[in-house]
């Protein structure tokens, strides 16, 4: 992946951009933009509780054998639009909102709009292909319903994998096309919007099960300890002692592998005052390995952890790096495990696996700024001491804080308050309203998967000089991070099951 292509991925954090020297146009940060767009969807969805359903036209896809029946609007009162009409309205709405966002980010709106159109078309087409019954049908009743005798059993969410693979094909076989698309390839923006919307969905899911939800959240503390104190120190040691990396390389590498990928590598690069290209090169590896994990770990979780759904959820949150890949992998894991459980006659409530993965990831993200400050303090006072040089500032904690988390917390709190204080009649209106918002969350997931694929050029792994970087990543990730993550997830989450559907 080129530095330019990675700039879109890194666009999440203005401070990071300044540090990395990429995409440094002044304007609203992608984090804040994600908060505003996510809140817009949330507020419009909530209007549906008291009045008309303003977002019911959003397109949703069903498992199909006849493609003409695959698409439809999310709410019945927009049935007149038909599938294609709902798709067009959804596309236009996203185009308008995201183009306004692009203007706020100081991106050329015309270039963005054209490229977003192509991104949306390919990504959503991949999603629809993934919903084909021979790919998505899971249970015997599905087989009977669609009149089929075999299926890959990838579930409806298998479409995410198709979107990812479409992006990978473009990135690896049509690099010029991938470069052309880059203005609209913004996985961090898309996933952060999705996470803000997800806050409300999780809130409605856990309302009424406060005891279980708070217990799960409290165990998220273990994830913070593991990522920052255990993973980081071991990976840093391995990189420095076994592979002979300099401090400038080892610190961003340790953060990228241990914490949350791109954002952590960039924040660490800034904290230790590394050259901008160092965390950018590390980040390109982070994205490639995140894709490998997304393609493998959810299926491993389904095979070996389907009877421990929350162990699987926490493990995915701890093992898969970058917010986009982790939360998206949580979505696939949930679909795969729920499908397998359903085939065995167990109906878990949806939302708990994805919610646990997202909570683990958000918990880890919260402390990026604090960790960057600690490293900055050590580096500027003990390692790279320069007379009159810039020292670590407490303000960097806020500067590096991932602001989209504020949106996630806000939609969670409001959604939780509404769902837990509502009368049964009102709750019966809140749930579908948030469900409509959740349809947008799915679309932003699709865009995230496709974008991650487009940013992942596997040929970069074979380039001269990167072998040692790849080696430390493989040894640390698959020799340590994945297994310790599994052990800790097992210790804290084994025996805990999501509630069953009534």
């Amino acid at each position: 992946m080129s530095n330019a292509a990675l700039a879109g991925e890194l666009g999440a954090d203005n401070s990071a951009e300044k540090t990395a020297g990429t995409c440094a146009a002044p304007g609203l940060s992608e984090d804040w933009l994600a908060v505003w767009i996510g809140l817009l969807v949330f507020v419009l969805a909530l209007v549906g509780v008291a009045g008309p359903n303003l977002l019911g036209w959003v397109v949703s896809t069903s498992v199909w054998t006849d493609v003409s029946g695959a698409l439809g609007p999310a709410a019945k009162n927009y049935a007149g639009l038909g599938g294609i009409g709902a798709l067009l309205v959804t596309y236009v709405a996203l185009l308008v909102v995201l183009s306004v966002g692009a203007a706020a980010l100081k991106i050329d709106v015309r270039r963005f709009a054209l490229r977003f159109t192509v991104v949306f078309a390919i990504a959503y087409a991949s999603w629809v292909v993934g919903s084909y019954a021979h790919f998505a049908a899971v249970t015997p009743s599905d087989f009977k319903k669609f009149g089929i005798d075999w299926s890959l059993r990838l579930t409806n969410e298998g479409g995410f994998i198709f979107a990812l693979v479409a992006g990978l094909i473009i990135s690896n076989f049509f690099p010029r096309f991938a470069e052309w698309l880059k203005e609209a390839i913004r996985p961090e923006l898309y996933i952060k919007i999705a996470i803000v919307i997800l806050g409300a969905f999780i809130a409605v899911t856990v309302a009424g099960k406060l005891s279980l939800a708070s217990s799960v959240l409290l165990r998220g503390i273990a994830a913070i300890i593991e990522a920052y104190l255990i993973y980081w120190s071991v990976v840093y040691f391995v990189a420095r002692k076994w592979f002979g990396f300099s401090r400038e390389w080892a610190a961003p590498l340790a953060s990228g592998i241990s914490i949350c990928g791109v954002a952590a590598a960039i924040a660490t690069g800034g904290a230790i005052r590394s050259r901008p290209s160092v965390p950018v090169l590390v980040s390109s590896l982070v994205v490639v390995f995140a894709v490998v994990e997304v393609l493998i770990l959810p299926f491993v979780a389904q095979t070996y952890l389907s009877h421990e759904p929350l162990v699987a959820a926490a493990w995915i949150g701890l093992a898969v790096k970058t917010d986009g890949a982790a939360v998206a992998a949580g979505g696939i894991t949930e679909a795969l495990i729920l499908a397998k459980a359903a085939a065995e006659g167990v109906q878990y409530e949806p939302g708990w696996i994805l919610g646990t993965t997202a909570a683990i990831k958000v918990f880890i993200d919260v402390f990026i700024g604090v960790w960057a400050f600690i490293l900055a303090y050590i580096w500027t006072n003990h390692i790279n001491v320069q007379k009159g040089g810039e020292k670590a500032r407490v303000g960097e904690i806020w500067q590096r804080f991932p602001k989209f988390i504020l949106g996630f917390v806000l939609t969670f709190l409001v959604g939780f308050y509404l769902a837990s204080t509502a009368t049964p009649d009102t709750l019966a209106r809140i749930t579908p309203a948030i469900g409509t918002a959740n349809a947008f969350r799915v679309i932003f997931f699709i865009l995230t998967f496709f974008s991650i694929g487009v940013l992942s050029n596997f040929r970069s792994l074979w380039r001269e000089g990167l072998g040692k970087l790849v080696a430390v990543y493989v040894v640390s990730l698959f020799g340590f991070v994945v297994w310790v993550g599994l052990l800790v997830s097992w210790i804290f989450f084994s025996g805990v099951k999501p509630p069953l559907v009534n």
Binding site: L212, S215, A222, Y228, V278, R463, G465, P499
Partner: protein, 51 residues
């Protein structure tokens, strides 16, 4: 510095020995991490997750 320069730097880098402050950072992080996980484990034992 170009990406190509960084790659050749990676291939031909000189080993920097671990400084005492780095050893302290690694040691303290690991010890604190394991200690806190043990505390959480004990808390988890006495206050298990309730469904």
């Amino acid at each position: 510095m170009s990406e190509q320069d960084l790659r050749s730097e990676l291939s031909n880098s000189v080993v920097e020995p671990l400084l005492p402050i780095e050893k302290k950072l690694i040691g303290w992080s690991l010890s604190l991490g394991i200690g806190l996980l043990v505390v959480l484990l004990i808390a988890n034992h006495f206050y298990p997750i309730k469904g």
